[in-house]
Subunit: 191 residues, 2 copies
Amino acid sequence: MQAILDHFQNYLPLTETERELILARAKQRNIKRRQMILQEGFVCKHYTFIIKGCFKMYGVDDKGVEHNIQFAAEGDWISDIGSFHSQKNSRLFIEALEPSEIIQIEQQDLYFLYRNIPKLDRIFKVIIENKYVELQNRVLQSISSTAQQRYVNFLEQYPRLASRLPNVQIASYLGITPEFLSKIRKDLSVK
Amino acid sequence: MQAILDHFQNYLPLTETERELILARAKQRNIKRRQMILQEGFVCKHYTFIIKGCFKMYGVDDKGVEHNIQFAAEGDWISDIGSFHSQKNSRLFIEALEPSEIIQIEQQDLYFLYRNIPKLDRIFKVIIENKYVELQNRVLQSISSTAQQRYVNFLEQYPRLASRLPNVQIASYLGITPEFLSKIRKDLSVK
DNA sequence: CGCGACGTTGATTTGCCTCAACGATTGTGG
DNA sequence: CCACAATCGTTGAGGCAAATCAACGTCGCG
């Protein structure tokens, strides 16, 4: 549980009281590979912080194909923010790609923490600003680059993720088929 | 200038003192059509709030083609958040599509306001959370849908934007050529 | 051991781009 | 206010990027 305090304290120092408030409302869990912590049609009840392991967040189209919106590993937060705040049913899934350890905070608990530790507004503002910038880059890439460029860029930007993920998951993230990713990898290896 | 206070007060009430602090550091400007408020190679110096008018934010690829990352109109904020906080040169442009009225806050002034009005952390956290959810939907669309689906979705999600923007700008936003958008529109009109 | 997930290859099809050309608007400078 | 230029929307022919479908070998795991 220390992990989440360290994480927050990368942004701003916390007092002893604040640390206790947080720990009292954060719950640690172990998650098995392929286990889902959010499913389509359910409300996203937690903010989830990853201590160890790796998750994918994805939507499923009308043909039943999965499309990975994001990956998250050690030190990342993952949740369907829209569903979490609106309390409406999510259209997304969040699923463990590896056996994982996480810390979860429920909506009411997070709101309590926001009320009692204003600092957390600042911290989460900064966290989400950073995630926003990442997403924005991804959007720019996806409307301006070929699949090969996007793949090379993914390898450069997330080398540690790329080496632990199956290619089929990366293909889904890039918005291409596994077959075509295979072709891209062959072309790149020729050079 | 009342516009920006109203905007904030949609999220949380402000005291008279807070309103004065904000007004003292926000500057109103008029911007002509095609005028840029951010150019590639420069640091993004302001958070910009749009009172009236419309902007596009875009990147330019190595062939010189523009790719629209987002539009922003009345009541929206627009800035290159990454450049703004890191003070590094931006790779993006922000340009007025119509004659516009805006309110700008410089980085140091915004930081001052954050320090003196903790509420603003909360307000901007919520603002950016909402923008994050929007962007995430866009990413999902772009990796899972055809150009036609994305266009129809754009019309539904932003009808007021769609009717005031030239199709060439919408095509750039969707990541397709104007010619192909024209074909899509023809196909849709047949039905 | 046997099954399911994974990565790869090849043949064919489709979505979207490129380039060129054309009228219709829009906007701007003289 | 007009005339000309630039932007815009559209059409069509041809080409390329990526999807689809089918098949096959490998590997890890239950």
